[in-house]
Symmetry: C2
Subunit: 360 residues, 2 copies
């Protein structure tokens, strides 16, 4: 059994082989980057991913690759990450692709679309279904490389001040819901509102809006939404997955030594696993507190979900008609999803369903 130190090989009891390499001395450059986030520090799950990536990169490079993290608005506006990364104002930023639909509709698929993929299916599509290559192509026109970096899981249906019994009840409703989900609601006669996280509570409390789609129990409770709306809707068919991304300025990326690139990639894998695990552990505990406080958990009526699905399909098809890049990504996404839904209905999803039906 041998343990060797790095200067000369010595023998110890542990059997560990450490090759000595006194002649190999490698200069690791110190590199400092800045990473703004689209999220405030108060949302420790979403904001936490930026911190985790930074810490893991430091751990992987013996502290030589330092990335400072900056919460929403500190360096750049919450929704200004793509611009700042594209322009090289910052080297990278943690955000969600679908915040930038106005610039490029296909970015929706980087995060998730209504009635879309689960987090697990999103990884499968990205790594083995061609999704990553397609999205890299989309991002390349912004001079950006993206890495998937965190996932919230399915987001809840949202907070409503009155019950939704039929599709008609959605008509005229002012709902805080961004992006494609907003387009789905608009198609159903609701009036989608774009309201930053910080203003949501007040808007709902004052009745400026009637409903809010935010994230899930853990984050929603932090905003206090359970205090200003009585009905909490699920399941999250409008957002089965929200994949966050680290956007990286391409010249900055290309200037990195290969093993610093690897450090960023792997740190993002760590963040992806960790964020979803954290949400799953914390959401159910928060939901129990919320329900204990008098909120009513309601399942969307089937008719409403069917109406939403029909509207979602129309929204996706319309975007595909308007945008070639959207159409190209959607085409890959659609056929991959069909197979994944089939596979899950046969095996993983079917097994999980059996356990759910027996225990609830």
């Amino acid at each position: 059994m041998k343990r060797r130190n790095f200067v000369t090989a010595v023998t110890t009891a542990s059997g560990v082989a450490l090759m000595s390499a006194p002649s190999i001395v490698h200069a690791q450059p110190v590199i400092r980057w800045r990473m703004p986030s689209s999220f405030p520090k108060s949302l420790d799950t979403l904001w936490g991913a930026a911190e985790m990536i930074s810490k893991r990169v430091a751990a992987l490079t013996d502290g030589k690759f330092e990335i400072s993290t900056h919460s929403a608005g500190e360096l750049v506006p919450a929704l200004g990450i793509l611009d700042a990364v594209q322009n090289g104002t910052v080297e990278c930023g943690h955000t969600a692709g679908f915040y930038y639909l106005g610039k490029e509709p296909a970015l929706a698929f980087d995060t998730g679309v209504p009635f879309g993929l689960t987090p697990r299916q999103q990884h499968a599509w990205m790594n083995y279904g061609g999704g990553m290559d397609l999205l890299r192509e989309v991002y390349s026109k912004f001079n950006i490389i993206q890495l998937p970096a965190g996932n919230t899981g399915a987001q809840m249906g949202g907070w409503y001040r009155k019950k939704i019994n039929t599709l008609n009840d959605l008509k005229g409703l002012r709902i805080r819901s961004p992006g494609l989900v907003g387009q789905v609601f608009a198609k159903l006669g609701a009036v989608p509102q774009q309201i930053p996280g910080g203003d949501i509570y007040t808007s709902l409390e004052k009745g400026t809006i009637d409903a809010v789609e935010w994230v899930g129990p853990y984050d929603d409770e932090k905003l206090g939404l359970n205090k200003v709306a009585k009905f909490y809707y699920g399941p999250g068919v409008l957002e089965l997955n929200a994949s966050l991304s680290l956007l990286i300025n391409k010249p900055a990326w290309e200037a990195l030594p290969a093993f610093y690139k690897a450090a960023l990639q792997s740190a993002c894998s760590d963040a992806s696993i960790d964020m979803l695990a954290k949400y799953d552990a914390l959401n159910i505990t928060a939901l129990k507190r919320i329900i204990g406080g008098g909120v009513q958990l309601v399942t969307w009526p089937t008719e409403v979900m069917r109406g939403m699905q029909k509207a979602a399909n129309e929204v996706l098809e319309e975007n595909a008609t308007k945008s070639q890049s959207f159409a190209k990504v959607f085409n890959s996404f659609k056929s991959f999803q069909k197979d994944q839904i089939l596979w899950s209905s046969i095996n993983d999803g079917a097994a999980e369903r059996f356990l759910q039906q027996r225990k609830t």
Copy 2:
């Protein structure tokens, strides 16, 4: 856009700050480890994790931390990984904890138990439900540190030469099924068999055994099981998740520089995401081929699944009675699972179910 070197700090249009650090010269030791796997090279998904971990570690350390990979039997027997790592014959090995139930029943939870957690729930339990700490404690008596490193997803119910219509049809059946799944079948009157991967095809072809539980469509097709049994059962309630692990000799681990430890951890995160993604993409394609070849895909009758679940609960409770360490881990596992099933039935699982019901 300029590419900058690391010797002097220069300012370019991109705003990217690369700090120069000519005075920081860091000696990265060359370290060589060996990583045997429990799997043959022919199973490119399972074996692939060992290769991926090795490649990612090399990428993360600029090639300085070299881990050679060795397929089943090359250095140590397929199921001899734990021994070899414990003894320091090798520094680490890629395997499944539940292969070593004979040494320590609680290791079942490192991989998965019948009617247990999904891959996603396994991560949540490990990272935020106390699972990792509990299993570290279990492994510590083998002088081992473990890192989760890959997941197959739910495994299929298996291959049967005749149809299973009632629980009675399982009685006397010789089924290749290891570990706790074998114990469940034994409780239902079947005769579980331990047969290495390489001998399964011949045993089933000759009728030495009547049924085989292996992995899923992609791997099962590689073994040729679709040629020697007509009925392919699902869903994978007996194995909703099979989490693979990298076992690491503790003194070898402790002798690593901190950033090499980080490299191993992150490489395992990469492997975890990648293996499941690969299985999800490849399994459905293989299943279509298999069904196209005349195999009949069959769903377990509900009565059979209920019987299996009852038997599984008894098996888990009996193991808890016999082993204190099993009881300790099971206690944490059980309450975490209850909450996760509830959460999934409300949100993610319910949303996924809606899509499955609409599309199939």
